[in-house]
Symmetry: C2
Subunit: 356 residues, 2 copies
C-alpha cells in the first residue's frame, strides 16, 4: 500500500481528488491485478472496476481493493461513480484514453449534469514506477540473469545453415524452459543485411558465414522484464565491420561510465552519440541510447536526443547504441544498468565477444 | 490495391479527403507493412510515415507505397503533410488516437493556422477487414487446421499430475513447431475452480482427476489467427457438470444453426443466450457469443447482447458460449465459423468429447 500512498501524494500535488488508471502495468504496479480493467483512486477509496471476466481473478490478486463489476462502457459508469465518492476533479491518463472515449465521457458529464471536471494527466504512475524498489530490483536481476544464461546456452545455435526463425525459436524455448514468464517481446535474430533493420523480425533466411548477426532477447520474472542485445560475427569480420563494432562498444562503455543520476536522459544519450558521430556514423544511429525497463519492457525514462526525462537513483534502463548500414548490416550492443549512488551499475553479464 | 480502392470509397462516402490509419492490423491489411507507424491515405496518395526503425522493413513489405521518414511526434508532421497534399478534411481513428495526441494536434493546427479539419472516425478499415476475401479465408482455414491438429496432438498432455503451466507450454510448443507464427494469445489451460475464470492464465496448479479443464488456444498463419476452446473432464463428470456441458453444447449448436447473414450480431448472441437462460444459467454466461477473427484475434463483428454490429456473408467469427460457476468450474466450447450463402459454415474440426 506504500505505492498507493505515493500515488495519492502525486494526486494531491496536482490538486486532483481522484485519478483513473487504465494502463495495464500501472494497474499491476498499484493493485497487483494482472488483467485489464480500471482502477479509480481517491483519497479514501481504491476501486477496481472490472468486467465479469476479471472479477474472480481480481479477488485473488488484489486483496484490500474494492471490486466493482460493470457491464457498461466507461462513460456510462465513471461520472456517477466519481461523484458518488464525493470527488469533483478527477485526473485520467490522457495518453491512454482515446479521443473517442473522452468525447463520450465529456458528453455524459454534460448531459447528466454531473459536477465533475476531468483533468488530463500523463505519466503520474509511470514516474513512480521508474524508481525501482529493492524487491523490484530482485526480480529484474533474476530476469537479467535468466536472459544472460539463455544467451550463453543458445549462442552455439547461431551458426551457418540455421535460419533466423529456427535460431529465434531455439532461444525462446531456452528462455521459457528456464522459467521466463513468456517473453516480453519477440526474440530478434537478424543476420547479414537484415541486421541493418533495428526492428527486424526473424525470417526464413539462412544464417551464413561472413555475416553479422544481431540477437535481441529478454526474459520476464515476477512480471519484470530484461532486455539484452548482442552482435556476433560468423568468421572474421573485415576492417569496416570491426571498426563499427568497436565504435558501438566504445560508445556504450563511455555512456555507461559517464551516466550520472543527476543528468538528463538526453545528456546520457549524447555521451554515446558523440562517440558514434566522431567515428562518422552519426546518421546510422537512428534510435535513442535506451529505455527504462520494469513491468514494461519499454518504460520511463526514455533516453534519446529529444527526451525531456531526468535520471535518478533507482532507475533501471538499457544502454544500447547501434550502427545500421542499410544493405550491409548492423551492430547493437545492449546492457541493462541500474542507477545507484549516483552512477550506473551494469546488471548484464553476458559475454561481448564478437567472433564465433 | 483493391483494398485501398474500397477504403477510398469509404473515405469519400464520409465526405473526407484523407484518412490517417494507425491501428497495426489496419496498416497491415491496407499496405502489407507489419511494423508500427502511420498510413495517410488521400484520393491520390498512400504514404507510410515511419520512424527510422521501420523504413527499410517497409520498403520490402509495401512496394507501391510512398515512404516518409519522420523523427517527430504526430502533431509536428501531420498538419503540414495533409495540407501539402491539398487535403482539408481528414479523418483519424478516434478510438486509437489518445486524448493527449488529439489535443496536441488540434493545438498545432490552431497555432500554425493550417486549413485542416480533423474528423473523428471509428471502424472504417475494421469494417472492410470484417468481410474476408478468399485469399484471407485460405490463411484462416490453415490457422484453424493448425490449432485443431495441435489440440488433438497435445490433448494427451491434459492429465492428472501435470500443472496448468506445463500443459499450456506443451500446447504452445506444439502450435509453434507445427508452424504457427507465434501464438495470437497466451494459451489458457484452466483446471478445477480456475476454469470458472473466463480469462484465467495458466498457474502452477496441478491438474487433478475429477476436474474440468478449459483449453483455449489459437494459431497464426500468414498473419491470420484462429481461436479454439474445448472443455475436458478428467474422469466421469457428475450430473450437474454433465448438464452444464450439454447446455453449452446445445447453445452453441443452436446458435450456429440459427445464425444467418442478415441477422444482427445481438440476435445471434440471443440464440445461444436463450438456451443457457432456459437451463437456469443465464447469469453464468457473462460474455458475448463470440468475436470476429482475422488479422486480429478479436475484431469486427462483436457478438454480444449489447452489440450494434450486423452480420454479413464473408464474416468469420467464433461461437463460444460458456457457463462459469464461481468456486466450482466452467465450460466453454468455441468453434470458428464463416458466413457463406447466408449461413454459418463451421471451420473448426477438433473433437468435442468431454471425458478423457
Amino acid at each position: 500500500m506504500k505505492r498507493l500512498q505515493k500515488l495519492r501524494k502525486s494526486i494531491a500535488e496536482k490538486a486532483l481528488d481522484a485519478l483513473l488508471i487504465s494502463q495495464p502495468e500501472n494497474l499491476r504496479y498499484l493493485s497487483g491485478f494482472t488483467g485489464s480493467g480500471w482502477l479509480l483512486i481517491s483519497g479514501r477509496n481504491a476501486i477496481l472496476v472490472l468486467d465479469f471476466l476479471y472479477v474472480e481473478q481480481a479477488k485473488g490478486e488484489s486483496p484490500g481493493f474494492e471490486i466493482m463489476q460493470i457491464k457498461q462502457d466507461l462513460h456510462e459508469w465513471l461520472p456517477g461513480l466519481v461523484s458518488d465518492l464525493g470527488c469533483h476533479k478527477s485526473g485520467f491518463e490522457a495518453n491512454l484514453i482515446s479521443h473517442d472515449a473522452y468525447q463520450k465521457l465529456a458528453e455524459a458529464i454534460r448531459s447528466k449534469q454531473v459536477n465533475l471536471e476531468l483533468v488530463p494527466t500523463t505519466g503520474i504512475a509511470e514516474r513512480l514506477r521508474s524508481i525501482k524498489e529493492p524487491e523490484e530490483l530482485v526480480f529484474i536481476t533474476k530476469a537479467v540473469e535468466l536472459a544472460d544464461a539463455a544467451f550463453e546456452q543458445s549462442k552455439g545455435m547461431i551458426r551457418p545453415g540455421v535460419t533466423e526463425k529456427e535460431a529465434a525459436w531455439h532461444i525462446e524455448k531456452t528462455l521459457r524452459e528456464k522459467g521466463s514468464e513468456g517473453v516480453p517481446f519477440e526474440v530478434i535474430v537478424a543476420s547479414g543485411p537484415n541486421s541493418a533493420l533495428p526492428h527486424a523480425r526473424p525470417t526464413d533466411k539462412t544464417i551464413r558465414s561472413g555475416e553479422p548477426v544481431i540477437i535481441d532477447m529478454g526474459a520476464r520474472v515476477g512480471g519484470y522484464c530484461s532486455d539484452l542485445s548482442r552482435t556476433l560475427f560468423l568468421g572474421r569480420p573485415d576492417k569496416t565491420f570491426q571498426k563499427v563494432y568497436d565504435t558501438v562498444l566504445k560508445a556504450q562503455a563511455i555512456a555507461i561510465e559517464g551516466t550520472k543520476s543527476e543528468m538528463t536522459a538526453s545528456e546520457a544519450d549524447q555521451l554515446a552519440r558523440r562517440v558514434i558521430e566522431q567515428a562518422g556514423y552519426g546518421d546510422a544511429f537512428g534510435h535513442g541510447l535506451g529505455h527504462g525497463v520494469g513491468l514494461a519492457v519499454h518504460e520511463y525514462p526514455k533516453l534519446g536526443p529529444r527526451s525531456s526525462d531526468s535520471l535518478a537513483d533507482g532507475m533501471v534502463f538499457t544502454a544500447e547504441p547501434g550502427i545500421y548500414l542499410a544493405g550491409q548490416g548492423g551492430v547493437r550492443i545492449e546492457d541493462m544498468v541500474v542507477l545507484e549512488n549516483g552512477k550506473a551499475r551494469v546488471l548484464t553479464k553476458a559475454d561481448r565477444d564478437l567472433s564465433v
